[in-house]
Symmetry: C2
Subunit: 225 residues, 2 copies
């Protein structure tokens, strides 16, 4: 058997798959070593221990994907807030679904989904470096869109609503398919999904803004009581 990559990189590569599919606990270093065609001890040699390997995998996943689909807007990107919102959503789906990104749920995506549930110490660093900048970008877009007509809580709520859609589409793919029959969520309809989430969110944001203008304190029940 030919080994195209040096052992260390081969291990990181395979480990990403296996950690993703099976989770940290179930992914034994023996499985990883065998799949990477490497010796068990070489994992400890290169990464100190299983935790060290996982840390390396996580860092690798984020650094590569955010290099490919950067968080910082490129020069020449649109300045119109609506356009920027579309670009933001589209980039998010690219990272989640595209082959060059996390390859959807069945690939690395699952590993990241797990980090949402049980963040490891390694994920803390990732949040600071890669995810928090995203939050600032979205905040500025929403701020421009609302022109000061939304309070902070509503703005956060809208941000969560937008992110929530993307994340759910990306992570609950197999589940959605199980419930909704032939509704495919993968790289091929990345554009359709981006477009839907964009239009849906735009409608939602506008409604929240309008409601805030005409009546910014009453809840649904109060209005109908």
């Amino acid at each position: 058997m030919t080994k195209l990559l040096p052992t260390k990189e081969r291990i990181i590569d395979i480990a990403g798959d296996i950690f993703g599919r099976e989770g940290f606990q179930s992914a034994t270093i023996r499985k990883i070593a065998e799949a990477a065609d490497a010796n068990i001890a070489s994992i400890n040699y290169h990464f100190r221990d299983k935790d060290g390997l996982y840390r390396a995998v996580l860092e690798d996943i984020f650094s590569r994907t955010f290099q490919k689909f950067p968080a910082v807007p490129l020069p020449g990107n649109p300045t119109d807030p609506e356009e920027r919102l579309y670009v933001f959503i589209h980039a998010m789906f690219q990272r989640f679904l595209s082959h060059e990104g996390w390859g959807g749920f069945s690939g690395r995506g699952k590993l990241i989904a797990r980090e949402f549930l049980d963040p490891t110490p390694a994920f803390e660093d990732v949040v600071e470096t890669y995810i928090k900048p995203q939050k600032n970008i979205l905040s500025s877009i929403l701020s421009d869109l609302s022109e000061g007509k939304m309070d902070k809580d509503r703005m956060i709520s809208c941000a969560v609503s937008i992110i929530g859609q993307c994340v759910y589409y990306a992570f609950a793919g197999p589940f959605i398919q199980r419930i909704a029959g032939n509704f495919n969520i993968n790289e091929e309809n990345l554009d359709f999904l981006s477009d839907h989430v964009f239009q849906f969110s735009l409608g939602g944001i506008r409604k929240i803004i309008n409601d805030a203008i005409e009546n910014n304190s009453l809840t649904h029940q109060e209005k109908h009581s």
Copy 2:
């Protein structure tokens, strides 16, 4: 030490907590047995094996919560589709966040989140019994709202957008707090969250319908190219 419940129920109760917090693998039967003040062997005695215990816990969680917050609309519930949408969303948040439901992310909610990632055979039954009816209810609401002006794919997309928001709010609670500072997601602001998701989604749905009417085939890029 006094034991308020018989051993079997005490084990199910505690096991829900521990499975939720630590996941199936990390939740050892020794931890569970100790926390439930029961012998290790009694778990195997009552539930055959660890899988059997997990199955019992899952069934218990869903049956109790859906009995408390049923999926089937009660007689006397509103017939107006917008009102029905609000009720649907509110019930979902109740199940997710309320103490009598899954108690939010830190409680049983996490266990269910895990099932989205790695469905166990036991979850298949739960999907059929408890979750699929939900899908039919939401479908009928969206169908009434759109009055035949949305195709099937758009309707599913809207459904996913709505569910996605609720699920993300419920499951990513700690994560959101980490990113967005003091934005609390728990039982106390259940009404605020329901109201936001309702308004946001209503705006989104209306926009999707309008777009579908005036131009039901072009994507965002095509429209702007």
